[in-house]
């Protein structure tokens, strides 16, 4: 009888030591799970921005910008940088002036750390002047890749890249020609 009772503390000791080892592992796993959850939230935020543009309602799109972007955000593109949320909102207003039937299907969306990457297809009809081209009524469809860095659930910094020459060359009736020397 007594022999069995002596064994019990030993068994309990072994069980506890296993539990302690796994505590470190559990903490690490919890960190990964929390990170994965954050990444899903950031992806959802990125999607909302495009949903706002696709809603056809400029006021709705602007309200969503407030929810998705930080006041001091900065977005970099070949066309220049947008500094601060007011410039993002101005950009959104311009998009609605130039394009109708906006649709941004998301082809790919990925998240890693505090970054979300989306590859969308920009689909729209040109109903306003764009880069010197008067409204053509033509449809464009061009891939754009966005990289957004999030902080506290909002976009702090972004980069986007797209082949604007393709939009205009193939789709809006333009072609590349040597710049005429100014006389």
């Amino acid at each position: 009888m007594k022999k069995c009772l002596c064994a019990v503390p030993l068994i309990l000791l072994i069980c506890f030591s296993f539990a302690c080892q796994d505590k470190a592992a559990m903490a690490e796993l919890e960190k990964y799970r929390a990170q994965a959850k954050l990444e899903e939230q950031n992806k959802a935020q990125a999607k909302r921005y495009f949903e706002g543009l696709d809603s056809g309602d400029v006021e709705k799109a602007l309200a969503i910008v407030d929810e998705v972007f930080m006041p001091g955000c900065i977005t970099h593109s070949a066309g220049g940088d947008l500094q601060g949320i007011e410039q993002v909102k101005q950009y959104v207003k311009n998009v609605f002036l130039i394009w109708s039937d906006l649709h941004h299907p998301i082809e790919q969306i990925m998240a890693t750390g505090d970054i979300v990457i989306t590859r969308i297809i920009f689909k729209a009809k040109q109903t306003g002047e764009f880069m010197g081209i008067p409204a053509t009524g033509k449809q464009v469809s061009v891939p754009v890749i966005y990289i957004y860095r999030f902080e506290d659930g909002k976009v702090k910094e972004g980069w986007l890249d797209w082949d604007s020459s393709l939009v205009m060359m193939m789709q809006l009736g333009m072609e590349l020609k040597p710049t005429e020397a100014k006389k």
């Binding site: 069980c15 990925m110 990289i147 604007s164 333009m174 072609e175 040597p178």
Partner: protein, 180 residues
């Protein structure tokens, strides 16, 4: 006395169930760590591929690019096979022999690698009908690559071609209607 003896199986059961739960957690953690390692390897593959382009090392490029890979650019007619893209690269580097991919950011999620790149090169020879200007051009590219077993299988690339062409003295003009 007997009461305590009855408690022992219960305690042992508790300990075993805790150990089992942690086994599942431990294997999940192993999976996560293994994925993180794969992501780092995939990032290295993509970096090395662009470096091989700059070194004009076609043998290395063929090691890192799957034979049946596809590269998607921006237009519907702009899907390139491995062979076709090698040819495009050859043409570019004939015109821009000092071409270099500068990595601004390289990110990975699962089997996808995203590279934000600043490409720079000096136009030393004719390119797309434009005589050598000696201009140093620079423009941004973002690529998404799907990497499997250490090789790039599929790439989606966007780049600021308009930026590059305008640096070479080109601009967009309305297409003139052809008079019949």
């Amino acid at each position: 006395m007997k009461k305590y003896l009855c408690a022992i199986p219960l305690v042992l059961l508790l300990c075993f169930s805790l150990a089992c739960q942690d086994k599942a957690a431990r294997s999940e953690l192993e999976k996560v760590k293994s994925l993180a390692q794969t992501e780092e390897q995939n990032k290295a593959v993509v970096r090395q591929f662009f470096e091989a382009i700059d070194a004009q090392d076609y043998a290395r490029m063929n090691e890192l690019l799957a034979a049946d890979s596809v590269i998607h650019y921006s237009g519907p007619q702009e899907d390139f096979s491995t062979e076709a893209i090698m040819q495009v690269i050859r043409v570019y580097y004939q015109a821009f022999p000092d071409g270099i991919h500068k990595f601004e950011d390289v990110l990975a999620e699962g089997n996808k690698v995203v590279a934000r790149i600043l490409w720079e090169g000096t136009q030393k020879a004719e390119f797309q009908g434009i005589p050598a200007t000696g201009t140093k051009v620079k423009y941004y590219q973002i690529s998404i690559s799907r990497v499997e077993d250490g090789k790039i299988k599929e790439t989606w690339m966007v780049e600021d071609n308009l930026g590059m062409m305008s640096q070479l003295g080109m601009e967009l003009k309305p297409i003139k209607a052809v008079k019949k």
